[in-house]
Subunit: 457 residues, 2 copies
């Protein structure tokens, strides 16, 4: 039996297994889900063992755990290939916007609907199933394989730098592929050349000791919620430019070559607006939308909290107001330096009558850029071209996968994105889904990737 026939035969079971994994609400951001993230780790460790991997173990970190496993019997002349993925998911709120419950996945219209279906439980399963297909049909793998799956990607992998540094010998590999990644479209592959870095923080404004009656004290003392809006509004001009002093200082200019590469890829603004439902595009002047999305830094407010948020009106002058902010960074910005610039900006722009401070949230990522002519990327490109019947686009991503820069720093290896999600799949939003046909195609792609790497590229 070929690996392909095996995968066809076992597909109904593989779909059910992905549903089982989605049912575990492994939300890394929420303290109440800590046991669920651990449960997901244990599920994954058992599943990779069933697939034929060895030495599978749930490894503790200072936060959520890691799952490691290996199979190292291909011989010393074969490369050792690490495959990365994550089994934690984003929070599912607001629940009422889901068509079916986020942790009670359903199959509809040829897709699996549920939190984590696409990001990254579906993606992480594809190399596991590829390994199983090779083991059951060939009795061995064509290369040495290490699985490195984590449970804190969605909160910025705060404990991974320490973990990877401590386990550098165990994790040593010749090349790294990330099963967390996007393809361009169900019929068009891509190779991702760069990802953005990230820094995450909160701006906290305080006024009176506790919430006050806005009738009795309004006009007498400053309003922290209003002061917060004044601080935040000072960070971006109405035309989209980030107005924090020094924010763009470390940004490498966008080369003509990269601009040309970006321009070669089809783009339809009407399609983009239809996909997001936004009324218009918006952002830093002087760059087209895709340049801003792929290759320019940005600053977004992820959340606002202050005062009364229930139904109707409560006439309070709030004691505190908070904003959650993330900046996406490009080469050669440094997260710590951008944090310092924002802290200085807040200090300079705090209006009278309140105090303000900036708190750093866990998680960081340096901008990530694949070197031209990278060998593993070339093999990935060949496999994608075969499986899809089309040359992959060379693209970039606005998102961040902090562990990739960590792996580069410690192991000296640039990871290649080899994932099969699509950006219409409501990643991080209600009604996340994953296409069954793509799930199947990703399994084939990993089988061929391992085979091609074993055949010497």
């Amino acid at each position: 039996m070929t690996p392909e026939s095996w995968l066809d035969q076992e597909q109904p079971r593989y779909v059910q297994e992905l549903l089982d994994l989605i049912r575990i609400p492994s939300v890394s951001a929420k303290p109440e889900n800590i046991p669920d993230v651990l449960r997901a780790a244990e599920w994954v460790a058992a599943r990779v063992t069933a697939a034929g991997m060895e030495n599978a173990r749930v490894m503790p970190t200072a936060g959520h755990p890691v799952v490691y496993a290996d199979w190292l019997h291909a011989g010393a002349d074969k490369p050792t290939v690490m495959i990365y993925g994550h089994f934690d998911v984003q929070p599912a709120e607001p629940f009422d916007l889901w068509t079916s419950a986020p942790f009670e996945p359903e199959i509809r219209d040829g897709c699996i609907w549920g939190r984590g279906a696409s990001d990254d439980k579906g993606g992480m399963m594809t190399p596991i199933l590829a390994v199983e297909a090779l083991m059951r049909t060939k009795g061995k793998l064509p290369v040495n394989v290490k699985f490195f799956f984590e449970g804190q990607e969605e909160i910025g992998s705060p404990d991974l730098p320490e973990f990877v540094a401590a386990e550098a010998d165990l994790l040593k590999a010749d090349m790294i592929f990330s099963a967390d990644g996007l393809q361009w479209a169900p019929d068009q592959p891509q190779i991702v050349d760069a990802l953005k870095g990230m820094v995450s923080l909160e701006v906290v404004v305080n006024g009176p000791r506790s919430d006050q009656h806005s009738g009795l004290h309004g006009g007498g003392i400053a309003n922290p919620a209003l002061a917060l809006t004044q601080i935040l509004a000072s960070m971006r001009a109405l035309d989209g430019l980030v107005t924090i002093d020094g924010f763009y200082d470390d940004v490498l200019p966008l080369s003509d070559e990269i601009r040309a590469q970006i321009a070669r890829i089809p783009y339809d603004e009407a399609d983009y607006l239809a996909e997001t439902g936004a009324p218009a595009v918006w952002g830093e002047p002087g760059y087209i939308t895709r340049e801003r999305l792929w290759a320019r830094p940005t600053l977004d407010v992820n959340g606002l909290t202050s005062g009364w948020q229930g139904a109707g009106s409560k006439t309070v002058l709030p004691a505190e107001a908070r904003a959650k902010i993330t900046c996406r960074l490009v080469a050669a910005q440094v997260p710590e330096r951008v944090f310092d610039l924002i802290a200085a900006h807040v200090a300079r722009h705090t209006p009278p009558g309140v105090t303000a401070r900036v708190e750093r949230n866990p998680g960081r990522a340096d901008p990530f850029q694949m070197p031209a002519g990278h060998n593993a990327a070339a093999v990935a490109r060949e496999v994608l071209a075969e499986v899809y019947g089309r040359e992959p686009y060379r693209t970039r991503l606005g998102g961040s996968i902090p562990v990739l820069t960590t792996l580069l720093d410690v192991l000296g290896v640039h990871a290649v994105m080899f994932g099969f999600s699509h950006d219409d799949e409501n990643l991080h939003a209600p009604d996340e889904f994953f296409r069954l046909a793509v799930y199947r195609k990703g399994q084939t792609a990993y089988v061929r990737l391992l085979e091609k790497l074993g055949a010497g590229g």
Copy 2:
């Protein structure tokens, strides 16, 4: 037995009864407490009947109910006196800032601690107990009395204009006293000459159809949370001036007489800052703090809501951002006109890439101003001078009691504030309390007020 001796003798029971009433969580702002507001109404109707009032009934409105009762046997030559109060309370969140649970009242340090102890359950009880003391010791009241207690003051009495208009005959009175009101200090009475009006609204900003991944879409489309901050920041200058076109157009200038009246009353800015815990005073330039608090209009943000508000970080670009806003108004501003000015301002200041709208919240109040030489106010002043042994200050209030303007419009009678709360009692905040000694003094004041009105003023 005199009414005073009766009140002394019954005081332990009266304290227990106030505790019972506070235990009913009659939060008018929260749909889940609708049955509790009704339960409080029924408790009050039963209690006024026990005090000797007649025709007590819980009367429906389009929202929370009203309690009415009367005693009309003093004779046609005696005035008919309406006494107003409310049995609904503000929400108690955040619960974790209370020393004892808001709806499990406790007696500590000579005070009753619980939501509504001061605003206005304690205040509303004082005329009820005064009537009971007069009925039990004299067998009758010196004037005709109508009780008019409501259950929606804390949400701006949205259904009272319709109710009062429909029941104008039943509510007809020669004078009106409000048991919802403040005294200056435990040893210093006041007569309140004016209250501010109010308009309440929400600014809602929308961008993409649903929350988006801020890495994949940040920099491509506008961020509604950031846009909301830009809209709100445009409403007030950093120096405190409200910068909405036309906002001050209808404001009557502050006369030299009123400024002098305000200046006569002791004020210590350090005390004010210590009371609120605010780091500094702040507000419209050109006016001292107390002028701003008492006699100038203002705009406050009561709440902000957008995106992720849980622990840590969630990298969303939110679909929506909302701000709750109230403006406090002075003569001769009109709530509807101020709402229109704000709506026009938001339309003019909506940044590119988002849509924004303004929704009016229920509840409104015209600014309220007592005419000079008002007769009922003169009697109230005499009683307060007797009970406290000091001349009352002539003051103003930044808060609003919408029903007072409604009663003026329909019945043609200016209500006199005759309440005994103090503004250090954490009204609308955690750890609300009411002094036991003031509770007792308020009962005496209402006995003397009714007696003096019956004796011809």
